[in-house]
């Protein structure tokens, strides 16, 4: 999944981006409000993390503009302002959650995971569909309660598909959202990874978690569990 981090403090932005990268996200970074708004509107983004006090353009204005332009992806606010007045203003402008500075980076990744799950329509932190369970906070996929050993890119793909369980996802969308910006793009690679994923999750081809729709893309096909 592709995240956007708009934060003017370089140390904070870079360490946050590094941590999110470790957690399997592709991360765009913007250091001021104008640049941030450009990324927020022009790039394929799954979630934006916006600092409220930014040079050039305030975080609140960015959020309002993004919502005005019809983007519905989740927005997480970072704020140094702790009063409820400021939190309410941010949520009212269209943000979905807030983290108050100084925060632990783990706190941010947890909120990000929760928001992404929520945006895919999952209510609980463990996403369960049939025998398959995905734990975003631990980045673990298990089938029939045994953990599957995945490479980070394989995990990114299954996470993306599973968060949007039931939706058809094109190969282009997958390459756009999963690769880092300057990676060589080749959609055949996706097919290879999907094949490996199928083999690892479903060696005897009995549960068929990923469906191929010819010419359109892939779909995570299992019914969401009770909690979903």
């Amino acid at each position: 999944m592709r995240l956007l981090v708009i934060e003017d403090d370089a140390t904070l932005r870079e360490s946050l981006a590094a941590k999110l990268g470790e957690n399997g996200f592709a991360v765009e970074q913007a250091a001021d409000g104008k640049e941030g708004l450009y990324y927020a509107l022009e790039y394929p983004i799954d979630l934006a993390i916006v600092d409220l006090g930014l040079p050039e353009m305030s975080g609140l204005d960015i959020i309002r503009k993004v919502r005005e332009e019809g983007r519905t992806y989740p927005i997480l606010i970072l704020t140094a302002r702790d009063r409820w007045e400021d939190k309410v203003d941010g949520l009212d402008a269209g943000a979905d959650d807030y983290v108050v500075k100084p925060f632990h980076v783990e706190e941010v990744t947890a909120r990000v995971n929760a928001l992404l799950r929520r945006s895919g329509g999952w209510a609980s932190s463990l996403m369960t569909a049939g025998p398959v369970t995905l734990d975003m906070s631990r980045q673990e996929l298990s089938v029939n309660d045994s953990i599957i050993d995945l490479t980070s890119f394989e995990y990114k793909i299954i996470e993306y598909l599973m968060v949007r369980a039931g939706q058809v996802i094109s190969k282009t969308e997958l390459t756009e959202r999963l690769y880092d910006q300057d990676f060589e793009r080749d959609s055949n690679v996706i097919e290879v990874f999907i094949g490996r994923l199928r083999k690892k999750m479903d060696p005897d081809n009995s549960i068929k978690p990923i469906e191929t729709l010819r010419g359109r893309g892939y779909r995570f096909a299992l019914e969401r569990g009770q909690s979903g």
């Binding site: 702790d82 009063r83 409820w84 007045e85 939190k87 309410v88 949520l91 009212d92 943000a95 979905d96 959650d97 807030y98 108050v100 100084p102 929760a114 929520r118 209510a123 609980s124 932190s125």
Partner: protein, 453 residues
């Protein structure tokens, strides 16, 4: 126009010009028409005298005696003229004064009716003329028509009028000038208290004075009193900020010292944990100091009426997003027309902290009711805000400790109860209180009561 006195002087001048103008026109018209009436009466008298003096001669014509009753008829250029014409318009007789001039012929009167006319001599001298046509009995039963005409030069009359006008303008001008002068002197005297206020405020700015002296006319005492209140509350506010800043700076020094100590003899295994502890402590300190009340009930003049329902709706919408996963049932009841007199940030701080805590601790249900305190109405500015939940609740013996936390921050353990301490402090700064009890939903109930002022 920014000056009060300029405004007043200009308005008064316009009014004076209007009233004096009307008065001048009325007086002038009255004087003139009275003068004209007198003039006509005099002419009529001369005409009657002429008629009485006229006699029928033996030749059957009308004749005038050579010496008339009025000597001006005999003096050339006297300004009073007379003539008599027959029915063909030929001059039968003219007074000696009229010998050298040609009287205008003018309009001809009907028989027996006096005709007054304003006419002019050939040289432009204005005349008032009176013509009368009569049938004169020359012989028994034989009547012949004659037209008598007397004329008086209006030169002296016009001179009189002009003189009158000069006097009129002169006097009124003088009176208007005197009035304007006295009004501007009065104004200076009346506006002196305003200037005094201005000077005293200047002295306050320079630090020479604490507050306005209060020796002002009745109309200004209210302004002066409110000004003093404003100054006092501004001063109290800046004192509060100074104290807050002071506390903040001092309380941050302890964790800073601890961190420096850690850097010098840090035990590497526990270093990051202990370092984090100090950071948390500093965060708590900053958080607490920044969330202190923005206003207090002493700031009377600076407070606004916060529309409670609107703010509550915004807050609840926000919290629904934040607690999307838990999805508690948040029930709100706000009395119609509810207004809170204070800072909207302070209101959100009270409601936000209590509602956030309730959402955090509840099983499923959260309820917030806001209504006016007992004995006052919903627009009066006071409020009673009750938040209850169905969570585990708070044991009675723990409530005091909970509320104490944060108030002596240097000595407290970080991590708990900042929100409640903030709520309590805001409530108290508005002269209210926070009470914790058991809710009928099963959990804790927090009740903030702020009296109407």
């Amino acid at each position: 126009m920014s000056s009060l006195s300029a405004r007043l002087l200009i308005s008064v001048s316009v009014l004076l010009m209007f009233f004096f103008g009307v008065t001048i026109v009325v007086l002038d018209t009255a004087f003139r028409s009275a003068g004209e009436q007198a003039q006509e009466d005099i002419l009529d008298g001369h005409l009657m005298a002429l008629l009485a003096a006229a006699e029928v001669s033996d030749a059957g014509t009308l004749e005038m005696p050579s010496d008339l009753h009025e000597s001006r008829f005999s003096n050339i250029g006297s300004g009073l003229y007379a003539e008599m014409r027959d029915e063909q318009g030929n001059i039968v007789w003219r007074s000696r004064s009229a010998l050298s001039i040609e009287m205008p012929f003018g309009g001809q009167p009907q028989s027996g009716i006096r005709l007054f006319q304003n006419e002019e001599l050939a040289d432009g001298t204005p005349l008032l003329t009176l013509s009368l046509a009569v049938q004169w009995e020359i012989a028994d039963g034989e009547f012949r028509p004659f037209v008598f005409k007397v004329a008086e030069s209006l030169d002296s009359f016009n001179a009189q009028i002009a003189q009158f006008r000069r006097q009129l303008f002169g006097w009124f001008g003088a009176v208007a000038l005197i009035m304007l002068l006295s009004i501007s002197v009065l104004l200076r005297r009346m506006l002196r208290p305003l200037r005094q206020i201005e000077n005293e405020i200047g002295e306050i700015e320079q630090g020479k004075r604490e507050s306005l002296s209060g020796r002002f006319p009745t109309e200004l005492t209210g302004v002066a009193r409110n000004m003093n209140l404003l100054i006092d509350s501004e001063r109290a506010r800046s004192d509060r900020y100074r104290v807050t800043l002071d506390n903040l700076a001092h309380s941050l020094k302890t964790p800073l010292a601890a961190m420096r100590a850690l850097l010098t003899h840090g035990d590497s295994a526990k270093f990051s944990e202990r370092y984090n502890e100090q950071i948390n402590r500093m965060d708590e300190i900053v958080r607490y100091q920044l969330r202190k009340p923005a206003a207090s009930s002493a700031d009377n003049l600076l407070l606004k009426l916060v529309p409670v329902k609107q703010e509550v709706d915004r807050l609840v919408d926000g919290l629904r997003k934040v607690y999307h996963d838990k999805n508690p049932t948040i029930e709100t009841q706000v009395a119609a027309g509810m207004r809170f007199r204070g800072d909207s940030g302070d209101f959100l701080e009270i409601a936000g902290n209590l509602l956030d805590n309730a959402c955090k601790w509840c099983q499923q249900r959260v309820r917030m009711t806001i209504h006016p305190p007992k004995g006052s109405r919903s627009g009066d500015g006071g409020m009673q805000l009750v938040v209850s939940d169905d969570g585990p609740g708070i044991p009675a013996d723990a409530t005091d400790a909970l509320l104490q936390r944060g108030t002596r921050l240097d000595e407290s353990t970080p991590g708990h109860g900042i929100g409640l301490a903030v709520v309590k402090e805001i409530a108290e700064s508005y002269g209210g209180q926070l009470v914790i009890s058991q809710s009928d939903l099963g959990g804790a109930e927090f009740c903030v009561t702020i009296p109407s002022t």
